[in-house]
């Protein structure tokens, strides 16, 4: 039988610093792909409510495709396919880290687009009418009345997305990014301690994601009280 406490007391001083070092990459991927996803999400959501039918259809299709694909498949397609489709271009800048951020960002954009759209649509149309009747232009009504309210509605689901994203960064090891899972694999197999190392990694992920989920739940509670 495995004596985990003993293994940890013997090894943690070597494992933890190394794993934490790798977890910086994990956080970096999560951070940049989150920013990208918000930008994509806003753009796609705007297309989704556009008056032009073609643009709307394109947005719907991109959302359905991105949501219908496993994230690993998105990562593989984004990272491996473009260089092969356009071999003439210079792809030297396109490393695994960039591919991971781009892949997760595109996928997240599709998720957030739906979140943003439903946030705007959740508002009663009376809000817009009241703003217009006071002499605001549609743009001002959007900035001062609609968006501030939509932001609050949207915050909890965006938080949930961020939690999911943090966990999904673990998939980047599958396209070879040197993040915490990759680090864990190399330690686990060189030290012949897979159980202890992977449980430790799980704990690190938990420590990163749990505060976030407490925050989201607090926001959700506040929303429920407010309504």
């Amino acid at each position: 039988m495995l004596d985990l406490p003993e293994i940890y007391t013997e090894n943690i001083h070597r494992w933890l610093p190394e794993l934490l070092y790798y977890s910086l990459t994990t956080l970096k991927i999560a951070f940049f792909s989150f920013l990208l996803a918000v930008v994509f999400g806003v753009l796609i959501a705007l297309c989704r409510i556009s008056h032009k039918r073609v643009i709307r259809t394109l947005a719907v299709c991109s959302i359905e495709v991105a949501r219908g694909l496993p994230i690993v498949v998105v990562l593989y397609i984004v990272y491996f396919v473009p260089p092969q489709l356009f071999p003439g271009l210079d792809w030297s800048w396109f490393d695994d880290f960039t591919g991971a951020v781009l892949g997760l960002g595109i996928h997240g954009g599709a998720i957030l687009a739906e979140v943003f759209r439903s946030g705007i649509e959740a508002l009663h149309k009376g809000q817009r009418e009241a703003a217009l009747s006071l002499g605001m232009t549609p743009a001002k009504a959007m900035t001062h009345i609609i968006l501030p309210q939509a932001t609050r509605i949207v915050l909890p689901p965006v938080g949930n997305y961020a939690i999911g994203l943090l966990k999904d960064t673990s998939l980047c090891t599958l396209i070879g990014v040197n993040e915490i899972m990759n680090g864990a694999k190399s330690i686990a197999f060189s030290d012949y301690q897979p159980m202890a190392v992977f449980v430790l990694v799980a704990a690190i992920y938990f420590v990163m994601s749990y505060p976030l989920s407490l925050l989201v739940r607090a926001m959700e509670r506040r929303m429920r009280v407010a309504h």
């Binding site: 039988m1 495995l2 359905e64 495709v65 949501r67 219908g68 694909l69 496993p70 994230i71 690993v72 498949v73 998105v74 593989y76 397609i77 491996f80 396919v81 092969q84 489709l85 939690i163 966990k167 999904d168 673990s170 998939l171 090891t173 599958l174 899972m181 864990a184 694999k185 686990a188 301690q193 897979p194 159980m195 202890a196 992977f198 449980v199 990694v201 799980a202 992920y205 938990f206 994601s209 749990y210 989920s213």
Partner: protein, 221 residues
């Protein structure tokens, strides 16, 4: 060779090879779904218990499994369990891993479903002279199932997509075969795109069904 030349020459071979990965994909998805449905119900019942000693471990379970990536859970089971003297096969590890992960999510669906049925429903049924059993059968369950069906369908889609990571513990499913084909033919674009298209052929119709169920449920209220 251009993309289309490759596709014309090897397309059929790619297609049949990838297709042969589907039985494993579907088997893992179905196995994990059954595992999650059963285990998730146990967790859900524990979580609504009035007994703290029962409630606490189930809450901890849900929090931990929702707070860590499925890939890590798979690694613990496949690479870690042998340390405890049990070496699961890749498929076993995948079913247990995704199943335990799914149970944490699905227990929340059960819980929401049970809690969504207003207590007044039972009381109304009993006041009409129904026995508790027939109230459960004719009044509560039909409503709870309607409430839970759309999120369950969505969960099944998520589960199917999650199977795309189990090649990491050696299951020979669609993505594993895709990777093998890439190493074999040194061409990636058509293979990964084809694999993606295959997933879409399954997930998009499923999402349509889930959306239709959800609309029906809302119309019903």
């Amino acid at each position: 060779m251009s993309f289309f030349e490759i596709l014309e020459k090897n397309g059929w071979y790619f297609f049949t090879t990838l297709l042969s990965g589907w039985p494993a994909t579907l088997m893992v998805a179905a196995g994990a779904l059954v595992f999650a449905l059963v285990f998730g119900l146990i967790i859900a019942l524990m979580r609504i218990s009035t007994w703290k000693l029962v409630r606490w471990p189930s809450t901890a379970y849900v929090e931990f499994f929702r707070g860590t990536p499925a890939l890590v859970q798979l690694f613990v089971i496949y690479f870690g369990f042998p340390d405890w003297g049990y070496q699961p096969t890749p498929i076993q590890a995948a079913v247990i891993g995704l199943g335990m992960n799914g149970a944490a999510y699905i227990s929340e669906i059960y819980r929401a479903g049970i809690e969504s049925i207003h207590r007044g429903q039972t009381e109304a049924a009993l006041s009409l002279g129904m026995t508790p059993a027939s109230a459960m059968q004719h009044i509560i369950l039909p409503q709870a199932i309607r409430t839970m069906l759309p999120p369950m369908t969505n969960f099944a889609i998520v589960l199917l997509k999650d199977t795309a990571i189990v090649f990491a513990v050696g299951v020979l499913e669609v993505m594993a075969l895709a990777r093998q084909l890439v190493t074999e033919t040194l061409t990636s674009a058509p293979i990964y795109l084809m694999a993606g298209a295959m997933y879409l052929c399954v997930t998009i119709p499923m999402a349509r069904i889930a959306a239709r169920l959800e609309r029906q449920r809302q119309a019903w209220h």
